[in-house]
Structure formats: structure tokens, C-alpha cells
Homo-oligomer: 121 residues x 2
DNA sequence: GAAACTACTTTCCTTTTGGAAACTATTAGC
DNA sequence: GCTAATAGTTTCCAAAAGGAAAGTAGTTTC
């Protein structure tokens, strides 16, 4: 009894799986979607704003995740010449292409909440 | 100089962020999207099939992630009465509602690959 | 000059995640 | 009886993720 390849291993399949892997590597971690979702609503936010808005995150994590996403050109960091220096973060145009993902995730989460009440399993 | 709430903290905002958090908690970890993407293409897959298809995963992780997703009603486990017992995994109808998310993630990943070549930053 | 604000960074620690390898149990083939 | 396949579980360990608190540095306000 030999084992035969059960899945159709076309290039399309492999490419799709690889694409999923790529995306999730860039958006890995506990906070990225949370931060992105927040940044998409308030278009320019300062570090301390994010620290207050993103519920539960600490300065270290926020700093690290922001750097991470800046490197991937998803967000833009701007230092302002104010008295106590302030820094603004905002989505880049490229980062905004993530909107459909974020929207679908938010939509699904809302439906999930609803399904917890009306058990139509 | 007092600090004022900079974001419009409407219920819609909070709900959206909460929804994102909910979804990502259910789909956390290195492998879930990978497994789900695979299961969406080949509709019924056995444990060993998945072990071979999901590149790099080990038996322990696969087992754990499958249990996790079964508990959340995203996938269904069926034990078959074959000589060496086989087990089939497939998406539930509910699990299939994740398709838009997976599709958007795959789509974005494909675009990301493309952008690595044509640098139009 | 002490306190408070900005935006971090650093240190130290715990928890979580993930992986390799070995092991369980059953059945089939040689 | 040995090997191999099925589907896992268990153990042991390393690495990564994440958090709390303190520290750095510059400026302004009292």
C-alpha cells in the first residue's frame, strides 16, 4: 500500500500558501493588527496616544512593533519640531492596502460575537 | 498643558478593535492560517496528509492546532473505520466563513511579492 | 533646580511557543 | 516476529515573545 500525493500540487496552490505565509510573517505578533486597526481610524497618532489607545500594550512592545512596521513600509514616522518633541505615526499608502484584510477580520469578529449569543450551530 | 482624548472613542471604534482582537485570538499562532489555507483547497485531508502538506510543521503542533480549531468549530474531525484507522479533517460551514479573510491575506501576499521586484516606493 | 512631559531604550524576568525524538496502540504485510 | 503504516501523545528542551519597571535625554513649567 503505497502513499500517493493526495493534493493537487499545482503552482497556484503552492503560491497561495506561500503568499499566506509571507503576509502572516509581516503581520505576526500579538499587537500588529491591533495597532493597524487603531491607526486606520485616527489617521495621525503620537506615541503616547497609541500607548493609551492600544489597550494593554507596553512602551517596549509598541516601540518594537512600530519599528517593525516602519521597516516594512506599512507606517510612516514623523518627528515634529515641538517643544517636548512629538512623533506622529500614520499609515503609508502601501499600508492602506491592508485595509481589506483588516476589514474582513473586523467583520468576522463581529459575526463571531453575534454567533456566541444565537447558537445556530 | 493637559492631555485630551485625541481619538474619537465611539462605540463603533471600540467594537471594531475588539472584533479584531477576538478574531486574532482564535487565529493566533504560526500555523493556523497555513493549515486553514491548505484545508480550503483539498477539502478532506487526513492527519498524515496535512503533516506532509503543511511545510515544516511537526506532529505535536499539527495535533494541537487541529484540536484548537476543532474546539472553535472551524474544522471537523471524522474517524474512519479503515484497517489502520484514518482520520479526516475538513472545514465546517462556519469555518468556511473565514474564506474572505484567507483570500484577502493570500491576495495581499501575492501583491507583496510582486512589489519586491518592481520597486515603486 | 525639581517635576513633568515627550519618546523612547534597557534590563531583567516569566510565559508561551515551537520543535525533535521517542513512545503508545492497532493493524497489515512479509 | 519484524517492519511499516495509521494517528496521535509525551517528554524534554531552546528560542521567542512579552511585560514591568527603571533609566536616558531633552524641554518646559513652576
Amino acid at each position: 500500500m503505497k502513499k500517493e500525493p493526495t493534493l493537487n500540487n499545482t503552482l497556484i496552490c503552492k503560491g497561495r500558501i506561500l503568499a499566506i505565509k509571507d503576509t502572516m510573517e509581516i503581520l505576526s505578533g500579538k499587537w500588529k493588527f491591533h495597532i493597524l486597526g487603531t491607526l486606520m481610524q485616527g489617521d495621525k497618532l503620537r506615541f503616547m496616544d497609541l500607548l493609551r489607545e492600544v489597550d494593554g500594550i507596553g512602551a517596549k512592545m509598541l516601540s518594537k512593533e512600530l519599528q517593525d512596521m516602519e521597516m516594512n513600509h506599512l507606517i510612516k514616522r514623523t518627528v515634529l519640531n515641538t517643544k517636548p518633541v512629538t512623533v506622529e505615526y500614520e499609515m503609508t499608502e502601501y499600508g492602506k492596502t491592508l485595509a481589506p484584510i483588516i476589514d474582513e477580520i473586523a467583520k468576522w469578529g463581529i459575526g463571531y460575537r453575534a454567533s456566541l449569543f444565537s447558537k445556530t450551530d
